[in-house]
Each structure stands twice: as C-alpha cells, then as structure tokens.
C-alpha cells in the first residue's frame, strides 16, 4: 500500500508538471496579446515595451517557465496581469464559491441519485422503473446551463422568491444547485440501478432473503454495499468535475467560482491566472482519482492495491 501510494504521488507530480509545461507553451503560442488588450488602442510602442518588461514577458519562454516553476515551488503563483492581485488569493476566493456550490449540489445529487436508482432496481420492469429511468435519461441529456436558464425564467422570475444570479445568501444556492445537481443525480441513478440489479440477482442475496432478513436490510446493507464500487467511481469522477468548476452554470448564475475565473482569464489572456487554474485543476483531479483508488480497497477487500 505504501509503495503504491509513493508511486502514485510521484506520478501525480509528474502529470502536474507535464500539464503545466504544455499549458505554458500553448498559452504563449496561441494568438492574442494580453498587453495589447490591457493597454488599449492608444498605447505607443514604448509603453508596450515597458509593460512587457514589467510583466516579465520580454524574457525567453524557457526562462519565463523556469522562473514560474521556481516561484510555484515557494507557493507563489504570480500576480494577475489585470487585477493586480496574487493568483493564489484569486484562486482561494473562487474555490470557496465553487466548493460550496459543488458540495450542496452533489449532496442533493447523491441522495437523490442513489435513492432513485435503488427504488428503480427494486421495482424493475414496473411503471415506476420506466418512468424514473426516462427521467434520468432526460436529466443526463439536458445540459446544465439550459436547465439553469429554464430555472431562472420559470422558477426565478415566476415566483420571485429565489435570486436568479449571484450567491448572496443560502436561498440563492437553490437554483444553481438544482441546475448542477440534476445532471449528476440522473447519472448516479442510472449506474446505481444497473449495479444494484446485478447484485440483487446474486445467490447471496437470495440466501439473505431465505434467512429471513428484512427487505430493507437486504437491500441497503447487503446489496448496496456490494453495488457501491461502480457508483463510487462515478461519484469520484463527478466530484473532480464539480470541484474544478462548472464554467457554464457559474457563468449563467453569475457565480465567481473557478470555472468563471478560468473563462474570464482565458478571454483576457491573463496568463498567470490561467496557469494557476490549470495547476489547481490538475491537482484536484489527480488527488480525487488517487482517493477513489484507495477507497476501492477499503470498500472491497478483494482488491489489493499492490497487486495492481
């Protein structure tokens, strides 16, 4: 286990640096110049040159990258070209919004998704099963930004109870969380149903029923625990997605999370923020996948990490 962990952590660090290197090169070769945008139309050549030097953009690319990596090792992600604030501060602020939104959305999604999945599996072939699965397919197919717009218009404006944008108070989380959570709930419901059906047909479930265990105990203690592996994989992947920010939902609801920060920075070519966001996303994804792998072993003792 220890050996496996060290191997995975080293691999994760390698992935993060490879990603940062690729991003750095791409950002510096794609068209667009942050200095031109920053200075506007009236800038003379001397000003452009001075600002470039001020931002360290006049140095050769490898030198710029090396300097960025060395700063990164000390926890310094640089200063935003436009906002003039440390990137780490901006990321931390945006993270707070994203994590709040992600946590509530996902709690709703998991409870709803697993509940619906179990109910559908237990009632396999019945009308409720077909209806719930049809709903789940609709949920998966509907893009969250579209759901967001519908919620704004038909719930927000109609009842004038929920703010249609921003995160001003607890009530303002409701619409974005529904918009974001619906899609994930639908996905979890489908995978829970499939996984549960597989387990419910196995001999040990029949044995449990024959021994007189209550249906609730059979389903929740015996079947669900064994059906959890694929569900956990989906949940892990989803958490990774959610924590890296939902660009469209955040934009539609005007939530200043990681996704919106990244989109805004790409548009302006605020390179330090984009680099910072990429590193953040890489770290979150790699960590989540590592945690999911470890949880596999915890949930299913048949899996031995060393063996893999």
């Amino acid at each position: 286990m220890k050996k496996y962990l060290i191997k995975r952590v080293l691999l994760a660090i390698g992935i993060i640096f490879a990603l940062s290197c690729v991003t750095f090169v791409i950002l510096n070769v794609i068209p667009g110049d942050p200095v031109a945008l920053m200075l506007g139309d009236n800038a003379d050549a001397a000003t452009v040159k001075a600002v470039r030097a001020n931002l360290g953009m006049d140095k050769p690319l490898p030198q710029q990258y090396l300097s960025w990596v060395l700063n990164l090792l000390t926890g310094d992600l640089g200063i935003s070209f436009f906002q003039k604030k440390p990137v780490l501060t901006l990321l931390t602020t945006a993270f707070q919004y994203t994590v709040r939104l992600a946590t509530i959305s996902y709690l709703v999604a998991v409870v709803l998704g697993i509940g619906i999945g179990i109910f559908a599996a237990v009632n396999r072939g019945k009308i409720a099963d077909h209806a719930l699965m049809a709903l789940a397919i609709t949920g998966i197919s509907a893009p969250s930004f579209w759901v967001a717009i519908l919620l704004q218009i038909y719930v927000g404006l109609q009842f004038k109870v929920f703010p249609v944008s921003g995160l001003a108070g607890p009530i303002s989380y409701i619409l974005p969380c529904i918009a974001l959570g619906t899609r994930y709930a639908a996905g979890i419901a489908r995978i829970t149903r499939t996984s549960m059906l597989e387990i419910l047909n196995q001999d040990f479930i029949r044995t449990a029923e024959a021994k007189g265990l209550s249906p609730l105990r059979t389903v929740f203690i015996h079947a669900l625990r064994n059906a959890m592996l694929p569900i956990l994989t989906v949940i892990g992947t989803n958490i990774g997605e959610l924590l890296t920010g939902s660009m469209l939902t955040e934009t539609v609801f005007n939530i200043p999370g990681i996704g919106k920060l990244l989109i805004d920075s790409i548009t302006k070519r605020d390179l330090p923020i984009v680099q910072g966001c990429v590193i953040y996303i890489a770290v979150v994804c790699v960590t989540i996948y590592l945690v999911v792998d470890i949880l596999y072993a915890v949930i299913d003792p048949h899996i031995r990490l060393e063996g893999n």
């Binding site: 068209p31 667009g32 110049d33 901006l90 005007n254």
Partner: protein, 549 residues
C-alpha cells in the same frame, strides 16, 4: 330523522354564514381604517430606510486607479470616489469641481494657472492642496506606476524626461502656494483643459496613495468624491457609501452596490427579478425589453462613431475607388433599422454628430449599388474582388455579416473570422488587419480625440489603417493649437471631409445609441457619454416600497 338532521345542518350553516358575514363586515371596516394608518406608517418606514442603489455592470477586472486602468467600467466606480480638477456633466459640459473656476491661459497658450477651492478634504481627512495635484501628475509620469493614459498629458514640460527616467520631478508644474499652481506645456494644446476633466486626471491624496503602495486602486482608494469605497472584491461587487462631508453638497444615496455580471442576459434577468435597480441595456436585447419595459428604458447617444475600419495598405483597399464603392454599396438606413433595431443614427461623416466640427449639412451616405459596380469596374475589378483576412469581435459579428451581404451584391467578397478581444487587439496593433468594425468613442465632445488618436498618420498604424495624408495631418496639428472654438471646429470640418468623403479612409456606418433600464423609483439618472455616474441619482423610497410584491 334524516330530514331533521338535514334541517339542523342548514340552520347551522346559515348561522355560521351570518356570523362570518358580520365579522367580515367589521373586519373590512377595520381594515379600511388600518389600511390608511398602515400606509402612512409604511410610507414613513420607507422614507427612513437607507437609499441603496443596486447597479449591475460587467466587471472590468481592473484596479480602480484610473492612471493604470483605462476602461469605463472601472471609471464608473472610481469617479464616484475620486475627482478630477474639472469634470463633464451628464450633458457633456465641462464644469470645475476642485477648482474655483476654469484655469486661465497665457497669451501664447502654454501656461495654465489654477486656483483650488479651499476647504476640500479627502475622505482620509487631509485637505486638498497643490502638492496633491503635483504628486498625482508626477506619479502618472513615473515609469514604475505603469500609467496608461499619460499621453493625454505628456505635453507638460518635463513629462517626457520623467517618463524616460531622467527626472524625478515635473519641471512644468509650478506650485505657487497651497491653493495656486501653474502648469506649463511644451506647445499650445487646445484640448488640455478637456483632458483634465477625464477620469485619467483624478487627483489622489499624496500621503494615502503613498502609504497604500501597490494596494492603491485595488483595496484602497481615497478621494474627494461623493462616495467612499467601502469594499471592492473585484469579483462579485463593489460597495460605495455616502461621503457625509462631501464638498459638493448633499449626497442623495446612502449606498451604491455595483454588482458585477459577465453575461448581459443574466444581468437583465436579475433586473426583471428585482435583484438590481439599474443596468445598461445592450442593443441586441432592446427589442426584447422595449415592449413591457418601454417606460423604464432611457436612450442616449454616446460621442462615438461606428465604422468599417479599413487598411489602406491592403492590395484592394488602397484603391480609392474600391473604398468609395464599398461605401456606396451599404444601405446605412436599413442597417440601423434592421440590424441595430433602430439603436443608432445613420452616419453622414466620420465625426460624431454631437462633436464640434461635424458638418450637419451633409446627408446620409448615398446608397447606390449600380454606381458602386461602375466604380469597381473603373478600378479594374469588373469581375469583383475578394478581401480576405478580416477579423471582428463577437459584438460586431451581426453588423459585419450584414455589410458582407451588401458588398456581395456589388461583387466585393468580404471574408472574416470572429475572434476574441485579445486576439483582435494583438492583430490590430500589429497593423496588418485588412478590415474590421469598431466604434471609436471620444471621451468628451472634442474632435481631437476622435480624429487625431485614430487617423493621424503616426497613430493610424497601430489601428491597422495606415492612413497618411499630409493635408489632413496638417489640419489636425493646426486645430490642436487653435484656441478659438469656431476656428477649431472649421479646421476639423475640413479634416473630416477629407477623411471620410474625399479619401474614404474609413467607412462610417452610424452614430450609436445606447440605453439603460431603471426601475421607476430610480430618479435623475442620466448618462452623458460612456461612463455611468451617480452624482445626481436619487431613489424615491415610497415608490420603491410600492414596487415590491
């Protein structure tokens, strides 16, 4: 038995109904009395409530230090907190703010004398003195500041030496005493006083600004303005509160919350939902809101011109006849009517119709596709031409697509791609864009900004225009030095004609119209040009209370 029960039930129902009716009668009377009293109480309560204006706008993502930021979004916040010596009101008339009167100028037009009003205090408690003005301008020319708009003031003697780093003091600024100072220019420059009325010349308190260091404009901003910056997270909102000691008189609002929206549609939904009281209304959403919200929409005309900006070094566009043919092929009246939903005035020349120098005797540009074809033929392109490589931003896409179809009818094929603002800026500054569409706005009603900054030979390169006409340049040079308003206007009139009617160095399309939407309880809101100012805005608390469901 059944009958008895039925009878009894009827009696009980009748009695209940009678009691309810009686009670309802009493309560109605009571409600009528209490309604009047309640309404008076509600009205009093509404009047006592703090007046908070919630304004929605896009986030500039830049500091509020107007020496390092250039955008109107930053200025709409900064201008409430910091003030320049003079400023333009909502009718675009310049007024002294920190000065006793307009500065006087020497006979040769190079020395300006200023008198500051006495007793004006910054919100940190320090009094405004000449030393603060000197500090502000010296900060602007210090390279480490990274000021971006110094070009509007670098004709002050000693500015260039400071910008080069060879001087640490502005030799052209002479402090007479705490309230009097003089500024000497290298050469007579007529729009100097107008430039002093822009946000770029906001006056900062020396000590507070020095103490704040790199936080100036980010977390700290102190000025003499009607509002104090309470917070600005540069992310969700900026909050301004009333400056109770404002030198300019009573400040109407207790608080202004400037809430940032990156998406216009979300912003307008927030307006509909009552989350904000006021915001701009983009032209593409005008038709959607002009029905049910017509009474809440106010239109105004910024001092700009929208035009097809063309590169005179392009193989085809360097030919004057091709340029004129482009102009003749476009139906500007229909363009405004159908593409802009009427939000504009068809252009008659380059200079905006509210800027002195605009020739109001000129009619709308002729729309004559047949003549355009003839001109194209005379230019040697009877078979048509393909002008490739143009770039436009998303905001101008629909407009250029319409132009593309007009030009296709006369045999001119325009090919362009839609790019983001960053790519567009970089490619344009490089001087190689064959064509693009742009709205060029003046900061104040003076032709120097619109004409000189875009089309003067040395400035037109970075705009991907590459226009060079010595007569045009000469007229602009002359106008910059001319202090008599009528003579200046006449010079610009000539220059404008050469540019847009003789050389067709650009293809003016329309003078834009902008609009904002405000709740009925928002009073005295007006926008003169580009920047939203809330100096006079008020909120009627009673109207506001009655707005709520």
């Amino acid at each position: 038995m059944k009958k008895v029960l039925h009878h009894g039930l009827l009696r009980v129902c009748g009695f209940t109904l009678a009691v309810l009716t009686l009670l309802s009668g009493c309560s109605t009377g009571h409600a009528a009395v209490s309604s009047k009293a309640g309404s008076a109480i509600a009205s009093q309560a509404a009047s006592a409530a703090p007046k908070v204006l919630r304004f929605g706008q896009a986030n500039s993502g830049e500091p509020l230090d107007m020496q390092v930021s250039t955008g109107s979004l930053s200025a709409s916040i900064a201008d409430e907190v910091t003030e320049s010596l003079l400023r333009f009101d909502d009718k675009n008339k310049e007024q002294p703010v920190l000065l006793e009167e307009f500065p006087t100028v020497s006979a040769d037009g190079t020395v300006y004398s200023f008198t500051l009003k006495k007793g004006i205090h910054f919100t940190d408690g320090s009094e405004l003195h000449s030393s603060d003005v000197k500090f502000t301008f010296e900060r602007m020319f210090t390279p480490a500041t990274g000021a971006k708009s110094y070009a509007y003031f670098n004709m002050i003697v000693g500015a260039k030496a400071m910008l080069k780093g060879t001087a640490s003091e502005l030799s052209g600024f002479q402090t007479v005493d705490d309230y009097h100072f003089k500024i000497t220019l290298e050469y007579p420059y007529a729009p100097f006083v107008e430039n002093l009325g822009t946000s770029y010349a906001d006056i900062f308190p020396k000590n507070a600004c020095k103490t704040a260091g790199s936080n100036w404009g980010v977390n700290v901003l102190v000025g003499t303005g009607p509002y104090i910056l309470k917070s600005n997270d540069q992310n969700t909102q900026a909050v301004l509160v009333k400056n109770k000691n404002y030198h300019g008189g009573k400040v109407n609002l207790d608080e202004i919350d400037i809430i940032f929206y990156s998406d216009s549609k979300t912003k307008l939904l927030a307006y509909e939902n009552g989350d904000i009281d006021l915001c701009d209304l983009p032209a593409d959403l005008l038709s959607q809101y002009s029905g049910s919200y017509a009474k809440q929409i106010t239109t105004y005309h910024p001092l700009g011109t929208s035009f097809l900006s063309i590169n005179l070094k392009n193989e085809y566009l360097k030919n004057e006849k091709v340029r004129e043919a482009i102009s003749l092929a476009i139906n500007r009246a229909d363009l405004v009517k159908y593409v802009l939903n009427g939000a504009g005035i068809p252009a008659t020349s380059y200079l905006n119709n509210s800027i002195p120098g605009h020739d109001s005797s000129l009619g709308i540009y002729e729309y004559n596709p047949a003549k355009a074809k003839t001109l194209l033929s005379e230019a040697g392109y009877a078979g048509g031409v393909t002008i490739d490589g143009g770039e436009v931003r998303q905001s101008e896409k629909a407009l250029v697509e319409a132009i593309q179809s007009y030009l296709a009818e006369v045999g001119i094929k325009l090919k362009f791609k839609v790019v983001d603002a960053s790519t567009w800026s970089a490619d344009r500054v490089g001087g190689k864009l064959p064509f693009t569409a742009i709205t060029w706005n003046a900061l104040y009603p003076d032709a120097d900004f619109q004409a000189y900054n875009y089309f003067y030979s040395t400035n037109s390169v970075s705009k991907s225009v590459n226009y060079s006409n010595s007569k045009f340049d000469g007229l602009l040079d002359q106008a910059r030095k001319e202090s008599v308003a009528d003579k200046r206007a006449a010079l610009y009139r000539q220059a404008d004609y050469i540019l847009s009617r003789q050389d067709y160095a650009c293809i003016p399309l329309y003078y834009p119209q902008s609009q904002f939407i405000a709740k009925p309880y928002v009073k005295k809101m007006a926008v003169g040009n580009l920047i939203y100012h809330f100096w006079n805005v008020d909120i009627d608390p009673v109207d506001k209370a009655s707005e709520k469901p």
